[in-house]
Symmetry: C2
Subunit: 520 residues, 2 copies
């Protein structure tokens, strides 16, 4: 791979420094990071290497909050992206990418055949084409830690190259690489694997499938991260793959909890921070506030950033169903608005989703079951109609449905009747509202706000240059040692030997006895 | 077992209510617990069934704090105990026990031969003789939850009988019953078992022993809780043992963390609260303050509540060593003070241990390595000379020593030289101070104060009548299902069949081929 010439640019007003001034910048940075406030608190420099799409949302919230607390925060983003951009409390640094905005847009305008596949992981193939050498200018600055989403492990590789401790903020790596790299046990008997849509209560055949999937996971990860393993080897000049690089992570901030997923083992450096965006909201704009008021309430409908335009036949079905319900519907829709939109439907390019879900008039939430949307629905106790598209969404949806907080519909085969039935169920059958209220109470009753907790552990890693006291010794064992297979082999051999010797002795004794009898 | 007539007495000034008034009390309690403050916060009624000795300390702190926050707290204690007694913010209720104060005192005045054994678990045999039926009057009151130390599972059995959710506050159950009952994985490859004194880094033979101990743990638990399994069956009238009763626990508050123990898997309902007493302290009395000042500083020496009088020969060795050091020594000692006490030694029946350890003049801490003492030493970064006596102490001491924060000595074979060497090491070799300062920084850098966290989760269980959302589905699986042994058997059979069929086919083909050749 050949390094590309890069002109990183700071987009933020705070800094007009370019590559040529990195020497001065370096000294300044070291001075600043060594400075301590009078109260003894530590101000450091955080490098954030985020992922695009909905993955960006929580990373941005954490970066902003850490910057707001007085640390320096540098966010490295590609020149072309779906959502990533500047913020109030961090500076951005862009790098060139070998794809353009149109290519990304074309990916997001979904058609029927694309909908049937998972498109969540498409950006990964783009990332593998970004030359990591172009990030090496970062070594001229002093950082205390890297905050990244390791599903695309660019940030993790750069952190290793720069010798920096890493904080991961992620929903999940579906092939189980997160669990494996954190050396966390995940018994397939009650920890359902992604793509199976199972819950934590499995029958025998489901356990068979789940176990098979868990046995295949290492292979899946190999395939999934084949490109990155290759890049890691080239970029780092070491015989390491992505799994090993990730196993060095200091803290795993997991955008989940025992509500969205099921109770399962954790390691001490894994922290649940599901629901970060719940408390981040503004007042609802006045025009929306007056539009949504009405005796029947309203329904919020969004399919996330991964989808902008829906196929016409689906849009027609959805509009026809909405026409037949008394509730108003606010629909996030970035495509061209059709002519026959019913009066009770408002299509908007962007909706203040969290603010709308917090409104007392909301009756239901139609969602693609992305984790952010689900947490916002959970946070405000709104029953849901879930139409998962890909990635973790089908599993998310089944997990939520198993708790009775909503129904799951297949958007590719949806009809007016099934949608009406689903909406009618969640709006008028009180069991959905009751279940979601109970889960919401559990979800929100936690000792620490997830944003605070994310910031706390990120600052911890910056302060202590890692979290070595939370690193399990399991990381130093190979597979045979970890499972004590060598010990079990020894014990089995000893037992076998004892049994054999006993048998041999008994046989000898019996033979002697029978000889003696014959002699008698 | 026959129920005994009991006269429970409230020791607290708030209440002079006796058994005959329980009817009224019941209604009042229900009314009170249903009351909500104007801010919507919940006031409940907590039943605390504690354990004696050092186990009582943190339970008392939590009970006091919960009472202080406006909840009703009732602590049930035996008429005779080592430390348990009334508090400011809870009421106590006493029950008769078939042993007296002298029997307990005689246990605590240790002699050489007793010192060689573990005496930590002696109180357990007493508890098994308390008729649990005498607690049934508690069913006349309304409680929201039970807080208990399940090492003596009286509280857990009563909670099950009364149908109440349980919060456990404990250091550890050394036969692994806590881990097993919480359905928490504990791979023997890097989770050292108690009584082995291993760390998380084991060589092959240590892993062999650790695995053997882990295989024997269920048997150990059976023996250890044989009495209680019997009592459980009689008292509850169900076919359940202690393990099953404990597996119903809502929350496990563990008086440990990744500093005292090693990083290992946890379940979502297991919470680290090690170091509760660290921040609970008063100003040092003026006379002590002036006595400890001096250019060479001082040493704190305590052996916990489990020991009051030491054998004379050991006392003589200790005094002789102390005579030879420039530091002053404050020694908690409840026996008769010998005549030849050196000037730099002060023997006191009770010492404000946490306050002394927090003093800037402290140079070293001689401790029996009970978890409370270790946490207070860690909290104030004091290097330690550890002389473990029994229970979890030998393992605690090794774990701390492996981190370089102190040295371990055997009190039964101690000499003036070894003690002087140990003291000299921890006081004058700066590596001990540096290590304990580093560990102390890690230990104290946590998002939540352990007392706050204990109170939070106890209140959580009171508010929600449990913590069902944190209960892993592993509890519903039997041993074969949990380990997927049935699934593995099926998969192995399938693989075997495929191999056999393939072999048979190949053999047939080969036979046909060879026949054909012969015919040719």
């Amino acid at each position: 791979m050949k390094a590309k010439t890069v002109k990183p640019t700071f987009r933020n007003a705070h800094s007009h420094v370019f590559l040529c001034k990195y020497g001065l910048l370096l000294s300044l940075n070291i001075l600043i990071t060594m400075m301590r406030s009078p109260s003894g608190s530590f101000f450091g420099h955080l490098l954030v290497i985020p992922m695009d799409g909905s993955h960006w949302m929580d990373l941005k919230a954490v970066a902003e909050e850490i910057g707001r607390r007085g640390h320096q925060v540098t966010v490295v983003i590609p020149e072309v992206s779906v959502r990533m951009g500047p913020g109030k409390h961090y500076k951005t640094l862009t790098y060139p990418v070998p794809y353009d905005k149109e290519r990304i847009d074309s990916l997001l305008s979904m058609h029927m055949d694309v909908l049937r596949q998972s498109t969540q992981f498409a950006p990964i193939s783009y990332f593998t084409s970004v030359p990591l050498q172009s990030f090496l200018f970062l070594s001229l600055q002093h950082f205390d830690a890297v905050l990244t989403d390791p599903m695309v492990p660019t940030g993790s590789l750069i952190a290793r190259k720069l010798g920096l401790p890493t904080v991961n903020l992620l929903r999940v790596i579906p092939c189980g690489l997160d669990t494996k790299s954190a050396a966390c046990p995940a018994p397939p008997s009650y920890v359902p694997r992604f793509f199976t849509k199972f819950t934590d209560k499995m029958n025998f055949w489901q356990r068979v499938i789940n176990t098979l999937v868990s046995l295949l996971e290492p292979l899946l990860c190999r395939l999934f991260y084949w490109h990155f393993d290759h890049i890691a080897y080239q970029f780092l000049g070491e015989e390491v793959g992505v799994a090993e690089v990730l196993s060095e992570s200091a803290i795993w901030l997991l955008r989940t909890d025992s509500i969205l997923d099921f109770p399962r083992p954790l390691m001490p450096n894994m922290v649940f921070v599901g629901g970060i965006s719940c408390n981040i909201r503004n007042p609802l704009p006045q025009d929306l506030e007056s539009w949504v008021s009405g005796e029947h309430g309203f329904v919020v409908f969004t399919l996330g950033t991964a989808v902008s335009v829906l196929p016409e036949e689906i849009t027609a079905v959805l509009l026809e169903a909405f026409r037949q319900i008394p509730q108003k519907v606010i629909w996030r829709y970035t495509g061209p608005v059709p002519d026959d939109v019913p009066e009770n439907v408002k299509m908007m390019e962007w909706v203040p989703q969290n603010e709308l879900l917090a409104h007392h008039g909301v009756r239901a939430f139609i969602t693609h079951a992305g984790s952010h949307g689900l947490y916002e629905g959970l946070c405000h106790a709104v029953p849901m109609v879930m139409m998962p598209l890909g990635g973790d969404q089908p599993d998310n949806a089944q997990r939520m449905a198993s708790r009775g907080v909503g129904v799951v519909l297949d958007i590719t085969t949806i009809t007016v009747e099934t949608l009406l039935q689903g909406l009618n169920d969640v709006i008028n059958n009180s069991s959905y509202k009751e279940s979601v209220e109970k889960l919401s109470a559990f979800h929100k009753d936690r000792p620490f706000d997830p944003l605070e907790l994310s910031v706390y552990w990120t600052e911890f890693v910056m302060r202590h240059k890692g979290a070595t006291h939370l690193r399990a010794a399991a990381h130093d064992l190979n597979w045979v040692q970890y499972h004590c297979l060598d010990v079990l082999a020894l014990l089995a051999t000893v037992v076998l030997l004892v049994v054999m010797v006993t048998m041999r002795c008994m046989r000898l004794c019996l033979r002697k006895l029978s000889r003696k009898r014959k002699q008698d």
